[in-house]
């Protein structure tokens, strides 16, 4: 046990991107923001920011408008739910169909 680099006898973490690993690859649905609909963009000021406040992974940065870090966004969709302007839509990462495989995949 003495070899572990993190020597603390108690469990701690820093609230920072990546503490839970690269969570971006957990994502099935991706948030897509329509900037013109965002209240902050409309006003040209740092207002609202509910998506930033509610993001459980702290991967949305405040701004005009807020920016989502797709490396760590796990696609939970809370930002989309809380956005009062419906500016964030959850879109599937991949379009699926019946036996829908890309051309040239034949082996």
């Amino acid at each position: 046990m003495g070899t572990r680099e993190c020597g603390s006898p108690i469990s701690m973490s820093k609230p920072s991107a990546g503490e839970a690993g690269r969570t971006g690859d957990w994502r099935a649905n991706r948030p897509v923001m329509t900037a013109q609909a965002c209240l902050a963009v409309k006003k040209g000021e740092v207002v609202c920011q509910l998506c930033w406040a509610y993001c459980p992974d702290a991967c949305i940065s405040r701004g005009v408008g807020p920016v989502i870090d797709m490396e760590y966004c796990k696609g939970c969709g809370i930002c989309s739910e809380v956005c009062p302007a419906n500016a964030i839509e959850m879109v599937p990462e991949a379009a699926h169909g019946v036996c829908n495989v890309g051309e040239g995949s034949e082996r």
């Binding site: 572990r4 469990s11 690993g21």
Partner: protein, 405 residues
């Protein structure tokens, strides 16, 4: 009361506990009153109110919140104190585990009281015994002087190991009984207790999550540094508790150098040297057993007493050493692990298992819910155990003292 001089007076156990907290210069107190702990809280709140104790007294609506306040205050670097009894301790049980797992050097006095139902405000030790596995150090006191001295020592031990300490003393029998106590001077205590250096200081400019989700295996943090998994954190906690087997006697020895009073560290003894029959207990009943042992000697039995001061950590090596070669150990428990036996008795049997010179161990249960325990009853129990041993009995059910079913 002036803190500048050593003072000899008479006081109740609860006043001794409060006085110790004051002398330790606690900075935050949060507690919820419950019989028989109440006068600890009353005394401390009066001192805070009068300005005699420059601490923050946080009033709360429950014991769960009391310990939560202590946990948060200790996390940010304050020396904290709380006290409770029985159902109050049960109510804060979730946070009892948190305080230990977060390795916070909280000192909590337990005025030992019976658990409900049925409702009862009187003494036994079922309350603290029921949280023996939570990762706290548990020290049991036999008189009011020991309560005062042990509570001060508890801060030393807790802060050195980053492990919380329960100072347990029998409700009413000690909490409300006045007896002579020497109060050390503030200078003595200051020399003994350096200011608290917290393991972690929460800094708004460099924030931390304390005790976040920690799964089974070690993990890499955001910087790629490998951090302990749950089992590693628990193994370190166990190391700290076992380390207390050194720290507790050392703290007692240093206290003795300052004050001339030492309490035996992990265990204490009376007439043990040549004893063949050893009476074992924790707390005030141990003190009564010293009188019983003397009476047994008058009757020709080589009897002695082995008192348990540190119940967690359980002083396995010390007990093995002190009991090797004896004929009989009779353990008096003021608690029960229902469906099994008294907790000290069971632990002692486990400690002695397979030891070549181990004595026969018998258990006795006494004083539940404040049932008066007299020296005569303790003597009679010892004589019954001696008779059973003479009859070749090596294992038997616990002897319930003064039970009238």
């Amino acid at each position: 009361m002036s803190d500048t001089a050593i003072k000899r007076t008479v006081m109740a156990g609860n006043e001794a506990a409060a006085t110790a907290a004051k002398l330790a210069r606690v900075q935050v107190i949060a507690a919820y009153p419950i019989t028989p702990q109440t006068s600890v809280v009353e005394q401390l709140s009066a001192w805070v109110e009068s300005g005699e104790l420059p601490a923050e007294f946080v009033t709360v609506e429950s014991e769960h919140s009391a310990l939560t306040v202590c946990i948060t205050a200790s996390t940010v670097g304050a020396r904290v104190f709380t006290a409770t009894s029985a159902n109050g301790l049960a109510y804060m049980t979730e946070q009892v585990w948190w305080a230990a797992g977060a390795r916070l050097p909280i000192v909590m006095c337990i005025a030992n009281r019976a658990m409900a139902a049925p409702w009862n405000v009187l003494n036994d030790q079922q309350d603290s015994m029921s949280v023996r596995d939570a990762g706290w150090i548990q020290l049991y006191c036999r008189d009011n002087q020991e309560i005062l001295d042990t509570t001060i020592q508890a801060y030393r031990i807790a802060e050195q190991l980053h492990v919380p300490v329960m100072v347990c003393y029998d409700g009413f029998l000690l909490s409300h009984t006045v007896m002579p106590v020497e109060v050390p001077s503030a200078e003595q205590v200051d020399a003994y207790l350096p200011p608290y250096e917290p393991l972690t200081v929460v800094d708004p400019d460099d924030p931390r999550n304390i005790g976040p989700v920690t799964l089974a295996d070690p993990r890499a943090n955001a910087d790629g540094v490998s951090c302990h998994g749950y089992m590693e954190v628990r193994a370190l906690h166990q190391q700290a508790l076992l380390g207390a087997l050194e720290t507790i006697p050392a703290a007692d020895a240093e206290w003795s150098e300052l004050t001339g009073r030492e309490w035996g560290g992990l265990t204490w003894e009376h007439l043990l040297d040549d004893a063949e029959v050893v009476l074992v207990a924790a707390g005030s009943v141990g003190m009564q057993l010293t009188v019983a042992a003397e009476a047994l000697r008058e009757q020709g039995v080589k009897a002695g007493v082995l008192g348990i001061r540190s119940y967690r950590p359980f002083p396995v090596d010390a007990l093995r050493g002190k009991l090797a070669g004896r004929k009989l150990a009779l353990v008096f428990d003021k608690a029960l692990s229902y469906g099994n036996e008294g907790p000290i008795c069971g632990d002692l049997k486990a400690a002695l298992y397979g030891q070549p010179e181990a004595p026969v161990v018998f258990g006795a249960v006494c004083g539940l819910g404040g049932r008066d325990v007299t020296v005569e009853q303790l003597n009679d129990a010892a004589n019954r155990a001696i008779a059973d041993l003479a009859d070749g009995v090596t294992d038997r059910a616990a002897d319930w003292l003064n039970l009238h079913l």
